[in-house]
Symmetry: C2
């Protein structure tokens, strides 16, 4: 009997062999992990990344495939460049985005630029030069806001609690609209906390886990705000599996699907697990600061059964082993990430 | 016994006597009608309008109060001007918007500019210089998309079917967010088809009813696309009642409420009623054109019981009398609207 978890990652490779793939935000955490995988599958990978310092782009992320991918350091807002780059692509993984909730509140217009204007530009270019490109857009659980019920499935009301969530929601809707009206086969995946090698650990702009790891490796105690909140986490390679499956499955276009991961854990449990992985370290539990409380969402974990049912996806790596591999990666490469 | 319908419009006047009120889009259809009413109530009215030809602004709309209002022909995107104008206002009716569904599909970036970027600018200015201003934002039923059920209440899923609907939805969310996080008392009213004197009749950019009236008055048959679709209509003075009530009611801030109107009628019934009001005229029933079908929403009418319960609002004018007054107005002033 074939094991499901083994079967899944074997399917997409055939589809990607020789395929032309564009990844926006491809020097970032998830984008670079995806690029490396696609290169292994024999795809021709082109990467767009703005390398804006506050975002996730980091050239070191691409080091294992630096000779095999074409990298364009440019902004997704540059519509003319996009026309040229998009024309012949078979797949487009649209991962470029401003991800910081706090930054979206202090500088809402930049968040709008990246998460709305640039998305519209990209879709307009697809419409103009390549409306058959298979497009996967990385959205976020942030669009749901504070959950009414758990786990949160796709029918849950949409009530984003920060500018970033609002703009990402608009970005989703643009993709679904262009799929519906212009036939561009676009799929939206709503990601939760993704973690793993290559994540941003300089600060908490991608997820708080990053900055925890950095403090840990630097021998400093890290701060746990609150601690009781439940969260779910996706191992980055599992996330890449999901992106590839979403891109090749014939029934995902026009759909908006949650991607979850492991069983939810509390932040305290996560902190303890992380210290355990590292072998030493400590953390301090703190009261939520007032300015963050307003945009905090309490407990959150996703119901991703629709995506699992449709594609057969399931996470292959436990949180404990994922964290172990993450800590090991950053222990080795810390200098490139701080 | 006091009649509800008479009682309602009497409440707000006291609150607006001597109040400073800013209206964005104040030379437009609803904005100018609101401005005229506020002047009658003794408010100090300042109007912002870009007078962009494709939008609803028309200086003739303000002719009855041209000596009593201060008009600034400027764009809501002009953030520096806004700081000065917003500082001392008691009320802000935020009605400026790009309203054409078709234009939002051919020029999505301009729709984004007006319905997202400008709204964020306005809210940022409120936050900076006047976070106590009582704000009412005019949204649209378009954010619901094609209804799952009728009538559509506020719990209905949000599934906009054009760029305009997506951007208006983001605009709503910004207002609710700034209300929640920064305490700016903002209320969102989701309008349906509003009609009456001063509406745009040059074309169908505000609502198809406008262009029907124009054709009728010019002695031409007008086109009815489909005909069986049900719609609800709000008489503009009833809409103004609702805007004023929303602005003074203590429990509306932070809320998002539907505003409906009369009982729903089919487009055919409406067309017949309109011909009857005019005394003559004809129309041609046509198949929906392919490019519009994609963004058509079928039957739609609002459940506005939440707003009625909260504020006591109810429409005071029947569709038949409203249409009669509308036709009479445009018969007299046609030259200023074509």
């Amino acid at each position: 009997m074939k094991n499901l978890a083994t079967k899944i990652p074997e399917e997409p490779p055939l589809r990607f062999r020789g395929a032309r793939v564009l990844i926006t935000g491809g020097a970032g955490f998830i984008g670079s992990t995806l690029a490396i995988r696609l290169v292994q599958h024999g795809a021709h990978v082109t990467i767009l990344d703005s390398l804006i310092p506050e975002y996730g782009g980091n050239l070191f992320n691409l080091q294992p495939v630096s000779e095999q991918v074409r990298l364009h350091i440019t902004d997704v807002r540059n519509q003319h460049g996009l026309q040229h780059l998009l024309r012949d692509q078979d797949f487009l993984f649209n991962l470029a985005g401003q991800t910081s909730h706090m930054d979206s509140m202090t500088d809402p217009q930049t968040d709008l630029e990246i998460n709305c204007r640039a998305q519209l530009s990209l879709l307009e270019v697809c419409r103009a030069v390549n409306n058959r490109v298979r497009l996967v857009y990385a959205s976020t659980r942030q669009i749901y806001g504070k959950p009414d019920r758990l786990p949160v499935d796709e029918t849950h009301p949409l009530r984003p609690v920060d500018v970033n969530g609002i703009n990402k929601l608009a970005g989703e809707f643009y993709h679904l609209l262009y799929s519906d009206v212009y036939g561009i086969p676009a799929t939206v995946l709503r990601l939760t906390n993704t973690y793993g090698p290559r994540m941003r650990i300089r600060d908490a702009r991608q997820t708080f886990v990053g900055v925890w790891i950095r403090r840990l490796l630097e021998g400093q105690p890290f701060d746990v705000w609150g601690g009781q909140q439940l969260r779910d986490f996706t191992w980055v390679e599992d996330c890449v599996d999901a992106l590839l499956l979403a891109a090749v499955h014939p029934e995902t276009p026009g759909k908006c699907l949650n991607l979850g991961g492991c069983q939810p854990v509390s932040l305290l449990q996560l902190a303890e697990l992380l210290v355990q992985c590292h072998g030493s370290g400590s953390f301090v539990v703190r009261e939520f600061p007032a300015d963050r409380k307003k945009i905090d969402i309490g407990d959150f974990y996703s119901d991703d059964s629709a995506f699992r049912r449709l594609t057969g996806w399931q996470p292959a790596t436990s949180l404990a082993s994922g964290l172990e591999m993450t800590v090991a990666y950053f222990r080795k490469h810390l200098q490139f990430y701080v």
